[in-house]
Symmetry: C2
Subunit: 404 residues, 2 copies
């Protein structure tokens, strides 16, 4: 593992083994968005650094990551190697260091323009819990659940960067006990702690992407909070699935951790109950389970630690399924895991599960408790993964505050 | 109604009362996409015409309609008035006529870059028929159906222009009688005849769009064939809705008919069974039912004439619902009506209804019959609407051929 000449990058979860990409601006030029790379306590202006070392790149001199995403795996590998050299080899120090901005002094933006957004439903514990809550008296997992990764399309245009306030959505809802629906602010506003995968290289319409080609198409990984209005969702979602209960906002973390940084985080997914169809069968390949641990804080208080390694379906299986019908990919497609919930109460990634639909409110240190989110509440999700030589990889955070 | 100096535009459903927008290229410059307006038997190169008459416009000198879409209602009105003058006032003839291309000699492209795509489910007859087929023994319409326009997000990246071949999708499916799912080409490939609405001006996150503001946001109207693999859909869609059964392709007509052209087509929607919540209640305004008649042809043979005027929910109600939770709009958002089916068998807009899930195959003049689509089949949907003074408005066509 290469060491950086930048002191704050040494022993940092934002060391050279991580180097996530984002888009930032500075206070003196607020309208000028630039590609940045997080390293130690700094953000490297990647385009300026490339020019300074004499390796100018149109891919790094952009206001979104989309051109870099579209460039494909060989380019991603080359760019990562160049960044590692610039920050690891002290001969570059004089040229590169003027382009480091303290992370606290920059504004972070949505790192890329989202093309299509898909949300999966890959946690067995989450799907079981929601089945019990939404469809009591029936088998909680639908018969298809262990044969294919269930997913649906969400709204790409309302994905917002971490830190954006979330307006409590209005909507139509009807409790079973009410004779007619009403319209007003959601009374059951919830979170969903998820991991999201960023598609780089596109694919051709009509050509499925095989499990083994996952790495050629997926550029990196973010955190996502898929805010959910449970009352709106419960009334609308039969028969065509979630719509307005989700589409008001989803918050995305500003840093895209390169897939290359996660080799040490790979683990086997849980044993599968049924033999999978060949296009989903990853027993003979290198499965893409990932040992990320998320932490969910409500107003600073830890309420859950969802374990991503427990997910039944991997991101590679999700991509193979998403394209199994020939659907094409575009640079900037984003697909999320679905809520991550482990087997224990304190590892559940949504309030509806943590509080069992409000029956057991979460107690906060200030003496209050929550069934669902209140106006003014701030939810922050962070995550780490194992890196090389015992190092940690940080995913930064995705945070958002509820406003009326 | 203004008459054109262009002979083929007189008494044409592509007369000055229509003037739909598209994007075309010519054989001598296949890589150069330009905005075109259909008039009579010709396509007017709108940017070149604007320059020729001394009114150059960056909005018309573009390779997609997106900049024009984003410009908003006052600009749309001004551009339409200018086009009407150029093609109606013979003093413009010498300048404009060199920029008319015979429609048979141009290639038509996807007219705009699709941002988010939403599909509704607004036909009571279609929803009732599908409820009976997919959920026999239960109430065919779900309890929410007459209180809100049910919808879901689809895949924007696989919307293709009319004329694009559609590859029969592979997918996972399991009939109730089969013990395990299998993967392979869909055996129940279907059509859905729909009308689609093109959003022009965007909206702010957190601010719903009222019924009365429909005209400020919606630019125009297209035809859409939402190809559907019923076997894939039936196995996957519980609990999160349609996904791979739809996402392999949706075909869009190349001409966007301006909303301004449809004033004479406005009709009242059917009587509503329940009083609607205020954000959906259009009794006191000017409802946006539209009297379009679609014709569906399979290999040239008419199999259905779906009546759009029978839709329970209007496009204005759909837009108000889509944004009721504060979801923002972007230029290029597209939302479709869902399959249009009238009360009679011969007005149903999908084969699953026409053949009642294959029980009563459609007979074709060549002596063959169809339960679902076969490889090589071509499906073409056309539509007309009433215009001023007894004239007709044509929507052109959306066509596609199934290939293995």
């Amino acid at each position: 593992m290469t060491t950086s000449w930048l002191e704050s990058a040494q022993d940092s979860p934002f060391g050279l083994h991580n180097l996530p990409y984002g888009v930032f601006s500075t206070a003196d030029q607020p309208g000028r968005r630039r590609i940045g790379v997080a390293v130690g306590d700094f953000v490297l202006d990647a385009g300026a650094a490339a020019r300074a070392v004499g390796e100018p790149s149109v891919l790094l001199d952009a206001d979104t990551l989309n051109p870099l995403l579209a460039a494909g795996r060989p380019t991603w590998t080359a760019v990562r190697a160049a960044l590692t050299a610039w920050l690891g080899d002290s001969s570059y120090r004089a040229a590169v260091s003027p382009h480091l901005h303290p992370v606290g002094e920059v504004t972070l933006h949505l790192p890329f323009e989202v093309a299509d957004y898909v949300d999966f439903y890959a946690s067995e514990h989450h799907a079981t819990n929601l089945g019990k809550i939404f469809r009591p008296g029936t088998e909680p997992l639908t018969p298809n659940w262990k044969h294919l990764p269930i997913g649906y399309h969400g709204r790409a245009g309302t994905i917002v960067v971490s830190g954006t306030d979330v307006v409590r959505p209005n909507g139509q809802r009807k409790a079973p006990s009410e004779p007619l629906p009403s319209y007003g602010p959601s009374r059951r506003l919830d979170i969903e702690a998820e991991v999201a995968f960023v598609v780089g290289a596109g694919s051709e319409l009509g050509k499925p992407v095989a499990l083994a080609d996952f790495r050629e198409h997926v550029f990196g990984v973010c955190l996502l909070n898929d805010w959910s209005a449970r009352d709106i969702q419960a009334w609308e979602y039969v028969p065509l699935g979630p719509f307005l209960g989700k589409s008001f906002a989803s918050s995305l973390s500003p840093w895209v951790v390169p897939l290359d940084a996660l080799e040490h985080a790979r683990v086997s997914p849980p044993p599968r109950e049924f033999e999978l169809l060949p296009y989903l069968d990853d027993r003979d390949g290198e499965p893409w389970g990932l040992d990320l641990t998320l932490t969910v804080r409500l107003n600073g208080h830890v309420i859950s630690r969802p374990p991503f390694a427990s997910m039944y379906w991997t991101a590679a299986q999700q991509l193979a399924h998403l394209t199994a019908n020939g659907a094409s990919l575009r640079p900037g497609d984003l697909y999320a895991s679905g809520t991550i919930s482990g087997p224990e109460v304190e590892s559940r990634g949504a309030l509806i599960e943590l509080t069992w639909n409000g029956e057991n409110p979460v107690k906060l240190p200030d003496g209050t408790s929550r069934s669902y989110l209140e106006d003014g509440d701030t939810v922050t999700i962070t995550a780490t993964a194992p890196g090389p030589d015992g190092a940690l990889i940080s995913f930064g955070e995705v945070t958002g505050r509820i406003v009326p």
